[in-house]
Symmetry: C2
Subunit: 340 residues, 2 copies
């Protein structure tokens, strides 16, 4: 009844030979023009003829074929975040995209949900990206870095808490967030400080170093740190607030502003005065935290702009044999308000 999908695709897809024929030039000229090859001199008139012919036929160059010829693509591959990303991350990612586009790279995000690290590295390598920026959820191994480099990736950059051999590192210094929060609480005379540890999947990458930073800030001050697992729901928050006095806590660093808002409401409903009986500090400086009464104290996170990451990608692609670099991507600053 109908032709097979394969046949119909083959019949309609125009090739660069079709473009060359219509424009009256060689296939090599078509390739030079459409790939913006700067090293070959071609007149503006010829360029225009080729572009018009390509447009008329609906011809689109094949990135795969181009990458086979070039040995690599201009593709920068980022694994997709599988946890909800907030406005901070969105702004960072937007800027990274713009900056890479300006440098003539294409940003592609790869859904790596549920993959093991080496499995993910192989899947990424199949796309032959020229650069890979791996975020914290997939903990690249040195073997994974090697697989990517062998398949032509010139830049492998990890965004995360740990360095991986062979890769450049942008260190997301999460521990500084917990350190700032707890140092502030200790200065306010607090001595038994809870640290909320979200039970949701994927967040331990952020919460563990924040707890570590909290411990560092408390060390030698006489203050105690008490990790408090919590799901982001009203009932477990109410249950935790119900045990609050039994736990003997006088302060809490609540992972971020959303957990802080959840917990502060539960504490208030349980009759615990904030900040009189317990201080609460969040993180992220969300607008919503400023709308609460008492206004929420928070740790503001200044992310070094995406443009710097884009420049690192480009520098490493141009000089892939340089020594792995390390850059810190977060600066944290406590903003005291009324809740602490």
């Amino acid at each position: 009844m109908s032709q097979s999908p394969k046949q119909s695709a083959d019949r309609t897809a125009p090739t660069s030979a079709d473009v060359a024929r219509l424009a009256g030039v060689s296939r090599a000229t078509v390739s030079y023009v459409l790939n913006n090859t700067a090293t070959v001199r071609i007149s503006d008139g010829t360029r225009r003829k080729v572009r018009e012919a390509a447009e008329e036929l609906g011809y689109v160059p094949h990135a795969a074929a181009r990458s086979l010829r070039a040995g690599h693509t201009r593709m920068v591959l980022l694994p997709t975040a599988s946890v909800p990303v907030g406005p901070l991350y969105s702004a960072f990612f937007d800027e990274l995209q713009w900056a890479l586009r300006r440098l003539d790279y294409t940003v592609v995000q790869y859904g790596s949900l549920g993959m093991e690290a080496d499995e993910a590295a192989r899947a990424w390598a199949e796309l032959r990206p020229v650069a890979v920026v791996s975020s914290g959820e997939i903990a690249l191994t040195p073997q994974g870095v090697e697989v990517l480099k062998r398949s032509g990736a010139k830049a492998v950059i990890t965004l995360g808490a740990h360095r991986v051999e062979g890769a450049h590192a942008l260190v997301l210094n999460q521990s500084e967030i917990g350190r700032q929060a707890v140092a502030h609480l200790v200065r306010r005379g607090r001595r038994r400080i809870g640290v909320i540890m979200p039970e949701e999947r994927g967040l331990d990458f952020f919460s563990e170093p924040r707890l570590e930073g909290a411990r560092q800030a408390a060390a030698g001050t006489g203050a105690e740190i008490v990790p408090l697992p919590l799901r982001y729901e009203e009932e477990p928050a109410a249950a935790l607030a119900g045990r609050w006095r039994e736990l003997g806590l006088d302060a809490v660093f609540s992972y971020n502003d959303e957990y802080a808002m959840l917990l502060m409401r539960a504490l208030q409903d349980a009759g615990i005065d904030v900040p009189g009986e317990t201080s609460v500090v969040g993180a992220d400086d969300l607008l919503l935290g400023r709308l609460l009464r008492p206004r929420l104290s928070t740790v503001q996170i200044d992310m070094v702009i995406g443009r710097q990451l884009a420049e690192l990608v480009d520098r490493v692609v141009r000089d892939p044999d340089g020594t792995p670099e390390r850059h810190d991507l977060i600066a944290a600053r406590l903003i005291p308000r009324e809740s602490s």
Copy 2:
């Protein structure tokens, strides 16, 4: 001093010929085994030998080469959202990814920030995806759909408010959200209803149809709809609250729960009683809205699960010549609480 990057990549990248040599089989056998070709019989022993040789050499198949042979990839391409995405979208996207993975597709997101629709379609076509799911920010044109199909995409599906000729449509019925909110306010006897229109880039794709739904719900009831532009910041919210009585409004549908929380705080600070003097309704049913006093009324959005989208992708890839389908992806339900 050091060899050029290109040379070093060429020297170290193992090929399928290397794998064939080490395993003592033909290159065709290597290709069959590593691409999981089901139609060719190969013994388990041979499969193991090939896999071990590939592992030892660090060989990764080239997705581009495979796609050139096959005429297409198993790649499902989604444009990256350039507005902050909330937990609802994240859950939907996670499920879509899992479901497509199970059907042996790979999900790749393409950063299309700031691109024109046809420019974006051409850039996507260069990757030769077998399917494209385009979300609302890039309004695909019929020409864009044609470019994608000519380059081998078997399924082009739009996620958005409008249908595009030649593409299948998952309609995000945003207007239903405004309709539900305003129908509720009218039932409560409200007669002059503000509708918050965020001034942030990229949100009019959501806010315009919500306003349209609000107007539909008000039509013929005697209630008036007043669009209220607002930036998501405290100062403009305070300024709007300062003009509230002058505007003569007795209710507001606040785009979503975050804008509702911002505005409700500003109204309360301006001495306007909620819900006595003005009713407030949000949307999204965020946990945070339940923590406010008064508790925030909202429109809950039930998104049809990502698995159904994955099944649509797979069905259309297998039968690309079928009639374009249309499915509704959102059901909205009002949840009355204390603020209205």
